[in-house]
Symmetry: C2
Subunit: 316 residues, 2 copies
């Protein structure tokens, strides 16, 4: 009911009386009044003038379904949305929901995670209400090899969304970290359930440092607020992220990955730079020369030989 009251207040051109709200919702005025109290406790600034009614002055920067979906310009992504104040991991919850049949585009967001995960089982720090911690269910079909390009797509889309909202242009470190001044702004984690030759579903996880203070982050990380010097609305940023991913996703399904890979190269922090990475035989060095059509990184070694790296980490 809280969600519906907020939607009604947001949609109202002037004040809404308690009676109007109680009629619209089919509940008593006392129930409305109680709910308004709960919303205020959540951070919603709701003015009440006696004999007139209620007016929404401002909303807290919470990633609740009503906040995310109000003004959301997508057809699929975020149309179903599950919000947690705190959860172990949005990845695990999204995976569980997908196994139960949750539809494509369903997202799981949390204000904080107690066991946030990064790639390869690493932990991901999730200071409360300071970042975007969001997992998205996609059902693209196709073979498991198709997941790597989807991960690159997400990196491109998040970089585009951040740039649109803040004018900061994060670069992409292969395969899918977003960097600002060589510090990590965003990590992307992709998981799937698949048969040998068919993806059942993909979960794309985004951990984006938005308003965190330096003390809340590891030294190698940076938040948008640190870069800009002021806070950013997480709601607006997440809406833009969802829109950008959906737009790229639909384009890729129609036209393939060509345009997205071009965009990836333009935003790359990796191509043209010296890279080092671990191989079975020890550390190797070379220059990253291009992205391959399957999402692998082509690296030219000192010997002139070009090898393709398809997994693992690189050091710039």
């Amino acid at each position: 009911m809280r969600e519906r009251i907020i939607d009604l207040l947001k949609g109202a051109t002037s004040v809404l009386s308690g009676e109007e709200l109680s009629l619209s919702l089919g509940v008593s005025r006392t129930a409305v009044w109680k709910c308004i109290g709960e919303l205020r406790a959540q951070g919603y600034d709701i003015q009440a003038a006696s004999r007139h009614g209620y007016r929404l002055v401002s909303c807290p920067d919470l990633l609740t379904p009503s906040e995310i979906q109000f003004g959301l310009r997508t057809k699929i992504l975020g149309r179903a949305c599950v919000h947690f104040d705190s959860i172990a991991s949005t990845m695990n919850e999204a995976f569980r929901l997908a196994m139960e049949g949750a539809s494509e585009g369903t997202i799981v967001v949390a204000e904080t995670q107690t066991k946030g995960r990064g790639r390869l089982g690493r932990s991901w720090s999730s200071p409360k209400s300071k970042g975007i911690y969001c997992s998205i269910i996609l059902r693209p079909g196709g073979a498991p090899a198709g997941v790597a390009p989807l991960t690159l797509l997400t990196a491109v889309a998040v970089s585009e969304a951040v740039e649109r909202v803040s004018s900061v242009r994060p670069l992409i470190k292969w395969p899918n970290d977003l960097l600002v001044k060589d510090k990590k702004l965003c990590g992307i984690l992709t998981e799937m359930r698949a048969e040998t030759d068919r993806i059942e579903f993909v979960i794309i996880g985004i951990g984006l440092n938005v308003n965190s203070t330096p003390r809340q982050l590891v030294p190698e990380a940076v938040s948008l607020k640190q870069v800009l010097g002021h806070s950013v609305s997480r709601v607006i940023l997440l809406q833009e992220v969802l829109r950008a991913i959906e737009s790229r996703y639909i384009d890729v399904q129609k036209n393939g990955f060509g345009a997205t890979f071009v965009a990836w190269r333009e935003r790359s922090a990796t191509i043209g730079r010296k890279v080092r990475f671990q191989e079975k035989g020890g550390m190797m060095e070379g220059v990253a020369v291009d992205l391959d059509s399957d999402g692998g990184l082509l690296v030219k070694l000192a010997s002139g030989k070009i090898i393709k790296k398809i997994s693992g980490d690189i050091l710039l």
Copy 2:
């Protein structure tokens, strides 16, 4: 407690008195007596001579943990075992257990499945106590591309196990159906949870028609009983299947897939035969010439061109 009574009776050289059993188990003689009654109802033939005690005459062909684990010659596979009289799908249950951290080698078996699944979302018929419906949790690590060879390994191992127990030598239809006289004896379904470049776990599902009657199977399928003319112990066959998979799995981890691929080719129903398959451009025809190092099937077309098929079905 039923499992422990069976183990004690199996291990006893002569009869075991109710008192001995009650002391060993730390329960009352009445509890022992009640439990013996339940075991008899389950199909265990337990003789009782007054003043002497209990003796196990015969066991039912049930795939309970005590039956599977008594005499099981494996180190990992089946050492943890979950048995259901009836379940929707052993695949889903094993997947759920693996998500909760179940150890490598854990197996889920059921007497029947109400929603048994085959590849690509097809259904799998599971007549009660007539077949082996078993899902195995493996944690091989590595990249998702490593799952296809694991599937081939399973096909080889099950074929070897069937041959050892029954002298029937099933052939493998690429990628992983077992055929006897061109009818399907066994289907193998492999699923995984994975990041873009790292497998978290693999679930290998085996559906093996053991003692089913023709009426219980679709016309394209066949059971071992139909081929042999007599029933086969499901317990012994499953024990041999687990042993064969584990043996191949350990070998592959040490020495790679070389020997297993050689065995696959020797047991292949596909190599050297005309095949037809669906491609984007329509049906294609050619001759299957070999298995590629990643588990793909190399097919020589009429034009002389050799293409690699990595997924989907083929018709022989």
